[in-house]
């Protein structure tokens, strides 16, 4: 019964530590205007708006979509606000896509953003709660022990995280929208950067960014008559899964929800061998070590072998057989609420052949991935050049 749905327009801001040249409204409008232009549409063509962002405390505005409605052309239309932790950018795109897949709407604008410079996300994340384990100064403190557990379990050598950090920053140099452009990035520069949360060094960590991402999602009928100069990126599968933050015996290194989510999205897209069938992937890697961890969780490698793919360069845009995060990934741009949507959007760009210098050749199938919370919320989609 579900209707076909495709991405027919994408837009993102130039991501930066501080976008002091724009308001919240200006930031989201920059991305949304570009998405509409790419789709060959105007504000009036849109049926509904779905917006997502991470916790409101990151900017200090409660439910900012109320204020942003006119800036996004949503006045008189349905507007939804999604919040599913770090995975929210991906979840938001999926909620928007379901408005099309359900037959409810034909043209949906979806937007995600974060303007971190207006607040301090690290400390907003660390509000002490009665009877709850403290987050210990931001997400890095939470994830470092999980990374250490992965290293022990897999026997991965210490340098793997550094390789990921260098690779993603080199790839970011090919993406004009990326926040970090470290021209002289090198193995030694990462290795010698300060240790923040052992084993995570400063340069193995995502930045804090201001930025926004937007996409226009369309029904089959609209996609095939779209004014865009680019072909549609068809949704072949989309899925979300959640599991609790903590319980005895939970595997936080290789979460079941991530495996279940991948299995669901692969089933929908007819993927049985991810490494062979997926041409390019944008995967949520906020700390370098999450690349090998997610390589295993997403079935690109056997358990314990993910780091070997990273080590042999399989995930590099330059010469790898499964390039991951050609845009530079979360390690190079991290407007938290938008980071997941940027993964979803970047694979749409790859499928539509509009990724410029970081374009992978002959992309037919691509995976976008986002996760959030304590590695417990997952959102994924598979896009393809062919109509499913």
């Amino acid at each position: 019964m579900a209707e076909r749905c495709a991405v027919i327009g994408v837009g993102q801001t130039k991501h930066a530590a501080k976008r002091e040249d724009v308001s919240f409204a200006g930031l989201v409008r920059e991305a949304a205007s570009r998405a509409l232009e790419d789709a060959g549409m105007d504000w009036g063509d849109i049926d509904a708006v779905v917006i997502g962002k991470a916790p409101d405390m990151f900017e200090g505005v409660m439910m900012p979509e109320l204020y942003l409605a006119p800036a996004l052309g949503a006045v008189g239309k349905p507007m939804l606000r999604v919040h599913t932790a770090g995975s929210v950018g991906g979840s938001t795109a999926i909620v928007a896509a379901h408005l099309v897949a359900s037959g409810r709407h034909e043209r949906v604008l979806t937007v995600a953003f974060e303007k971190q410079s207006d607040s301090d996300a690290m400390w907003a994340l660390s509000v002490p709660q009665p009877f709850s384990a403290p987050l210990l100064a931001g997400a890095g403190g939470f994830f470092a022990p999980i990374i250490r557990a992965y290293m022990r379990r897999s026997g991965a050598p210490d340098h793997i995280g550094i390789l990921v950090a260098v690779k993603d920053r080199l790839q970011a140099l090919k993406n004009p929208y990326a926040h970090l452009h470290i021209e002289d990035i090198s193995f030694d520069m990462v290795k010698n950067s300060i240790m923040l949360w052992d084993p995570v060094r400063y340069l193995e960590t995502c930045p804090s960014s201001d930025g926004a991402a937007a996409m226009v999602l369309a029904s089959e009928r609209v996609a095939e008559s779209s004014g865009s100069s680019r072909p549609p990126a068809w949704i072949h599968g989309m899925a979300m899964r959640s599991e609790p933050t903590m319980f005895a015996g939970r595997d936080q290194v290789n979460p079941q929800a991530g495996m279940d989510c991948a299995e669901d999205v692969y089933r929908q897209a007819g993927i049985t061998e991810p490494r062979r069938q997926i041409d390019v992937a944008e995967v949520y890697v906020p700390f370098s070590w999450f690349e090998p961890m997610w390589l295993e969780n997403l079935g690109f490698a056997e358990q314990g072998d993910g780091w070997k793919l990273t080590d042999e360069g399989a995930t590099a845009l330059d010469g790898g057989d499964i390039p991951w995060n050609c845009s530079g990934g979360v390690l190079s741009s991290n407007p938290i609420g938008a980071s997941g949507m940027l993964r979803f959007l970047e694979v749409a760009m790859q499928v539509r052949g509009q990724a410029g210098e970081h374009q992978v050749e002959n992309v037919r199938t691509a995976l976008g991935h986002a996760y959030g919370g304590g590695s417990q919320f997952f959102a994924m989609w598979v896009l393809g050049t062919d109509k499913p």
């Binding site: 019964m1 200090g60 979509e65 109320l66 006045v75 507007m79 959640s242």
Partner: protein, 377 residues
Amino acid sequence: MSAAAARAAVRPIAVVSVAQSKSVRREDHRNEVEILMPVVTEVFANIGVTKRDMGFVCSGSTDYLVGAPFSFVMALDAVGVWPPMRESHVEMDGAWALYEAWTLLQEGEIDTALVYSFGRSSPAQLDRILALQLDPYYLAPMWPDPVALAALQAQGLIDTGKASEKDFAAIAARSRRDALGNPNAQVAKDQSADDLLRDDYVVAPLRRHTLPPITDAVAAVVIAAGDRARDLCEHPAWITGIDHRIETHALGARDLTVSPSTHAAAHGAGVFDAATGPTDTVEVDVAELHAPFASQEPILREALRLSDSVAVNPSGGALAANALMVAGLLRIGEAASRIMDGSAQSAIAHATSGPCLQQNLVCALSAEPGGPAGRGA
């Protein structure tokens, strides 16, 4: 209003179970998970299912009430999503979570969803946090509180002759009296409008009784599609239409005495399908309207073109209990309950969000999946 044309939905989906906590001024001894757990248990027990039977879980809440980021994450422990489940969350009233779930069920892959929301207002300073909901550059720095903004709206009604302070008092008196029949209500009293008019002003022209109470509460609803709904519930409350719209945030650009977004949402929800002329009124047995301020009820009645004979807020409405993020979902729950218990054949439920009714959702419910019999007069 732009033509945000919603295409016709085809799959019949119904509310099959409703549960709620008591609405109280202050829940001192239980956190969000502890308040939610018995309610989630009850919403399943009502129809003999477990979380395993749910195809989807969707919730609505806001971090600003809890004063912590990711507050919905811990609340999810009330469900215990293990093995992993398909789950999502809106930073909105639970009514919009129900909309998201209803949309997903339209696709036909899954047949059931749990929707819940939680709102514990007592630890928060509502006048301060709701000011943070406003334009951060031009409005929030002046800290206008929600009562002051609602007073502007109420004064507009008085100035245009659309309603009087006595009308507001009569609405409050009726709501509180009706709440005597609702065991979960927070404010339930038998007082005359004349008595209430002796209250002092909080912000003129609003008096204490025109304001909603500050409430802690949670609510949960299960929706199901087609035959699954019939299997689970003897009298499912069929959702014959549901839609929502937002208006501009700029209060100065709106006529606060009307609600075009409610009207457009009602149109999208098929409320006016049986009303053939522009002056036709809408006849339903029950309307549960989320009007936190008594002064907002006349605006919603007009937007929905409700006939005078419609029983509005027999539960007592938001004047009897107004847990933020919950009160909208509860309107759907209360309206659906009237159909499920056989006391109503048709109903309209409404939810609102933002200052002065900025965003509105309308849900039409019927005892028949085919839709409204006898609506429109």
